[in-house]
Amino acid sequence: MKRFNSSLAFLFLALAAVGCKQKNQNVIRVGEFGSMTGTEATFGISTHRGIKMVIDDVNKAGGINGKQLELISYDEGGKPEEAVTVVTKLIAQDKVDIILGEVASSRSLAAAPIAQRNKVPMISPSSTNPKVTEGRDYVFRVCFTDPFQGKVLARFAREDLKAKRAALLIDKKSDYSVGLADFFRKTFESLGGEIVIEQNYAGGDMDFKGQLTSIKSKNVDVILHSGYYTEVALTMKQAKDLGIKTVFIGGDGWDSPKLSEIGGKAIDGHYFSNHYSVDDQDPRVQDFIKRYKALYKEVPDGLAAMGYDAALVMVDALKRTNGQVGPVFRDALAATKNFPGVTGVITIDENRNASKPAVILKVQGDGSYKFVKRVNP
C-alpha cells in the first residue's frame, strides 16, 4: 500500500510538473485557432497564412523589445465544440498571452467566453456577428460587423440593383448567416423593399433544389444567400439547373477560391460584400498582394488580408506596450486609432469593433472578383 501511495504521489508530481510549464520570459506566445479542415477550410488556411506573414516579419526584424513571437496554431475543423476545446488548451496548457481567431462567428462566439473568463485578450480577424464582442472587454475584432454589412447589402440591392422583392436563403446553424439575413431584412424593408420568401438549410447540406424551386415560384428580383462559400457554390449550380436567372447577393462568407472551383460558370454575375478588393491600387495593398503571392502562389482572399491585419494590429499594440502583455496590452489594443491596415484604416471603437468601409464585388465566371463600389460607414 505504501508503495502504491508513493508511486501515486510521484505520478501527481509528474503531472504537476507537466502542467506548470515554465514560462519563457523572452517569448510572447500567440495562440491561433481556425478551421484548417472541413467545409470552411479555406477560411482557416488563408487567415493562418496572413498571420504567419506578420509573425515571421516581426521575428526576422528582432522581435518586439527583444522578445520573439511564438505562434501556436490549432485546427478545430469548423466545429464550435472543438473550438472550445482548443482554446481552453491554448490558455490552460500553452499559456498563451494573446489569442487570434476565428473567422466564423459561431466559433468565435464559442471561444470568446473562455478568453474573457481567463482575461486573455482575443482578436477575431473576421467574425462579423455583433454578439462576438458584446459585453466582453477582452474580446476585439478588426473587421466591420453584420449590422453594417447587412445595411450595405440591402442598400445595394434596393438602390443599385433596383430590387423590390427579395428572397432569403439562410444557414440556420450559423450565427453569422442568421444575423446577416436579419440585418439585411431590416434595412431592405425600411427602404420600401419586401422579403417575399425565406428558406433555410443546415450547413453541410448538398441539395438546395427544393428551396430554390419554392423561391423560383415567387418571382423575386434578388436572392440573399447569407451562407458560406461551399453551400453558396452548390446553390448557384443548382439554380442554373433549375433555370433561375435571378441575381444572388451575399456577405464576406462567399470569399474563397473554392467558390469558383465548385461553382464553375454558375457563379458568374453575382455580387457580395467583402473587406477588401485586390483591385485597390493603394501601394500598401499591392505590396501585400505581391508578397503573399510570392510566398503562397495564390492571390490572397479577404480572409488572408484580415488575418494579416489582425496580426498587424496586435503587433502595433505590443510595440506601444514595449512587449508587455496582460491588462496593459488590452488597454493598448483598445486605444488603437487610425491604424493603416491593408483592409482599410482601423480604429477600435468603445465596443471593441472596427468601423471600416466595405466593398461590393462582382463574381466573374473565371473566379476573379470585379470591384463595383466602396461603401463607407
Binding site: 479542415t37 448538398m206 441539395d207 433544389k209 427544393g210 423560383k216 461551399t230 433549375l242 433555370g243
Partner: protein
C-alpha cells in the same frame, strides 16, 4: 402546378440516389441479417475514387459522357473490390458470432473508412471539388419545369442499374444462390450452394451500386469529402427499413418515398424540417408497420 411538378422531378432525382444506396443495405441484410453500416462509406469512396481517377483519364480525353462512363466503371470496379475485402476481412471471421458483434464491427469499419480517408496522405479532411465531366445544361424546359442533363442521366442510370440488379437476382444462377442463402443459409449449403462465394458476390454487387451512387451524388453536387457518406447512408438506411429491409423493390420504393418526402417538406412545410422528416417517417413506419411497406411480417420461433 409548375412548382409541384418541379418538386416532383427534384424529389425523384434525389430519391433514385437514395434507392440505389438502399438496395445495397437491403441485399446484405436479406442474406446475412447484418446492417452494413460501412455502406455509406463505400458511397463516399466511390466519389473519392472518381475524384482521383477523372484527372488521370482526362489527359487524353475531353470532358464527355464517355469519360464519365469510364470513371463510373473504374470506380464501380474498385468499390466492388473494396466490398469484397470488407466482407472477407471484417465480417466473415465473425459469421458465427452473435449478431451484435457483427453490428459493432460494421460501425467500426464505417468509422475506420471515414477517418482513414481523412488522413492527409489519403484524401484529407478538406472537401474537394469533383471534376466536371459532363457540362451542365438544361435539356428540357416546359411550363416552368426544368430538367437538366445531369438529372436525366442520374435517374436513367440509377433505374437501369436497379433493373440489371433485378435481372441478376432473378435470372442468373448466382442470383438463385443469393435467394437460396437468404431463405436459409444451412439448407442452401447442404444443397451445394457455395455460400461463401454467394455472400462475397452480394457484397461486390452492393458496393458497385454504392460506387455508382457516389459518382452520381458527386456529379450532381460537385463536392467530395470524407464525411459525405454518413448522412447519405443514414437516409438510405431509413429508406431500406421503410420499404421493408431485405426486400429489393421495397428499397427502391423506400428511396423514392424518402426523396419525395424531403423535397415536399422543403417545398410546402418548412426547409428546417428536412432531416427531421426523414427520421419521423422511420419512427412512424416502425410503429405502424414494423416490417416496412413491402416487408413480410415474420414470426420468429424461439
Amino acid at each position: 402546378m409548375a412548382q409541384f411538378l418541379q418538386h416532383l422531378v427534384n424529389g425523384l432525382s434525389l430519391g433514385s440516389i437514395y434507392a440505389l444506396i438502399a438496395v445495397g443495405y437491403s441485399m446484405v441484410y436479406g442474406i446475412l441479417q447484418l446492417i452494413n453500416f460501412a455502406h455509406g462509406e463505400v458511397v463516399m469512396l466511390g466519389a473519392v475514387f472518381g475524384f482521383w481517377l477523372a484527372p488521370k483519364f482526362m489527359y487524353p480525353v475531353e470532358p464527355s459522357l464517355g469519360l464519365f462512363f469510364a470513371v463510373l466503371g473504374a470506380s464501380m470496379f474498385l468499390c466492388g473490390l473494396l466490398g469484397f475485402f470488407i466482407e472477407r476481412l471484417a465480417y466473415r471471421p465473425l459469421r458465427k458470432s452473435p449478431r451484435i458483434n457483427c453490428l459493432i464491427t460494421a460501425i467500426g469499419v464505417s468509422l475506420f473508412l471515414q477517418y482513414f480517408t481523412q488522413l492527409e496522405f489519403i484524401f484529407g479532411a478538406i472537401p474537394q471539388t469533383y471534376p466536371e465531366m459532363i457540362s451542365q445544361a438544361t435539356v428540357f424546359s416546359f411550363a416552368g419545369v426544368d430538367i437538366s442533363n445531369l438529372q436525366l442521366i442520374v435517374v436513367g442510370l440509377s433505374f437501369s442499374l436497379m433493373i440489371i440488379l433485378q435481372f441478376v437476382v432473378y435470372k442468373t444462377k448466382l442470383g438463385l444462390g443469393m435467394r437460396a442463402v437468404s431463405e436459409n443459409t444451412e439448407v442452401a449449403a447442404l444443397l451445394g450452394v457455395p455460400v461463401n462465394k454467394v455472400i462475397s458476390f452480394t457484397f461486390i454487387l452492393g458496393s458497385m451500386l454504392a460506387a455508382a451512387a457516389g459518382t452520381f451524388v458527386a456529379t450532381m453536387y460537385p463536392k467530395v469529402d470524407a464525411m459525405m457518406g454518413t448522412m447519405l447512408g443514414m437516409k438510405a438506411f431509413v429508406a431500406a427499413v421503410l420499404g421493408g429491409i431485405g426486400n429489393l423493390p421495397g428499397a427502391v420504393i423506400g428511396g423514392l418515398v424518402m426523396g419525395l418526402a424531403e423535397e415536399f417538406t422543403v417545398g410546402y412545410l418548412s426547409s428546417s424540417f428536412r432531416d427531421a422528416i426523414a427520421f419521423a417517417i422511420l419512427i412512424l413506419v416502425l410503429l405502424f408497420r414494423p416490417a416496412g411497406i413491402l416487408g413480410k411480417t415474420k414470426i420468429e420461433k424461439v
